[in-house]
Symmetry: C2
Subunit: 198 residues, 2 copies
DNA sequence: CGAGCACTTGATCTATGTCAACGGTAGTGG
DNA sequence: CCACTACCGTTGACATAGATCAAGTGCTCG
């Protein structure tokens, strides 16, 4: 019934001009120019760059807006890199989409996300890691975690500590590694949701 | 030259309907209804309330917007209380003031502030306290700090640790307590800006 | 005058950091 | 194919920054 059947987007999940980014890859560097993005899938890490030193600044997960400051200043404030496989769409998406209500929602979301990230840097080490797992897991109880080092940067712990904690979560059956082709994955887990109640 | 000289606001610094809040006082509680605010002076602490437990979530300083989620959901997500004497104005302030550009600015500011707060929870204890002092101090090198306990909540340290750090900053002349009527103030300091270079 | 709060300081403990060694996997180049 | 390097992750032994516990000061308020 479409007037232009041939022009309908090919894949409903991946609208025209969306971007896919592999884990570990950079989306943009602080100071450079580019678009603003909405993150539709995955996890992105934002870093401040100060005197050449790069340090963890914030986390973006599905729904969050990235690099909106570029629309104001023409340059990114932070560097962004994918912690898991990501999908992004240029933002603002529609013509009138970026005004009023929608921007306000984004502002409220940004403030909520900020609180989430702050919470990941306080309390017992194991609880921080669990907090991150809760934040990144889906409803079905699956998580793809970032590397131990990235988790360490986010939670302000050391990667050795993260390694010990994750191993102990495995031993206590809170996390179960997912095997792919019989290969022991170190970052994909199914989560025992009951023991994760927050 | 004004057409309506009698209607010009009385005090340029305190526009009509602005609110003053003393240190330690609550601005609003999570879950309740109210206005959104722009913080024009002072420091406000935001807390998440989870199962009766209240824990530090974020910090707002001059320029930041507070409680904007109330415009969307009709209820505050966090609780807000003044850490120092504050001045607030209802937001959005003007008729067209809350659209487009201005909202985008607020979003970018919120993301920057989030990174600031995250940075206050990583690194050496003394550096976190210095980071907070840098964030709260004015250009003239004056700071009014929150209580030791509030600083501790912000930096994820203990108040005894904060007490020791501040005392040691005093001893090394980085902070100088300001005496009021000869009374030794414990929260007002002048800062040796040179040793604070960040 | 007593109660409550904010702050200081000392003594001791411990969660986490640090250092070190090692294993697995992927990529690269001969 | 192997050798080599570069990551990433695991685990053990030990060190320490900061937490915890405890006691005491001074101020304010009723």
């Amino acid at each position: 019934m479409s007037l232009f059947p041939g022009r309908i987007r090919r894949k409903p999940e991946a609208p025209r001009s969306s971007l896919r980014l592999e884990a570990g890859h950079k989306l943009y560097h602080a100071g450079s120019e580019g678009l603003a993005w909405r993150l539709s899938q995955g996890v992105v890490r934002l870093d401040t760059v100060l005197q050449g030193e790069t340090s963890f600044a914030s986390l973006a997960i599905a729904g969050d807006i990235l690099g909106c400051e570029t629309l104001l200043f023409g340059a990114y404030t932070f560097s962004a890199s994918a912690l898991t496989q990501c999908e992004l769409t240029p933002w603002p998406e529609g013509e009138g989409a970026a005004s009023g209500e929608s921007l306000l929602e984004s502002l409220a979301l940004a403030q909520r996300r900020a609180a989430d990230v702050v919470a990941l840097r306080g309390g017992q080490a194991a609880d921080r890691v669990l907090g991150l797992i809760r934040l990144l897991g889906d409803e079905a109880g699956r998580v793809v975690l970032p590397t131990r080092q990235d988790i360490a940067d986010i939670t302000n712990l050391r990667f050795e500590t993260i390694s010990r904690i994750i191993k102990s979560l495995e031993r206590s059956r809170i996390l179960a590694p997912i095997r792919i082709d019989g290969v022991h994955a170190t970052r994909s887990f199914s989560v025992n949701l009951a023991s994760l109640a927050g």
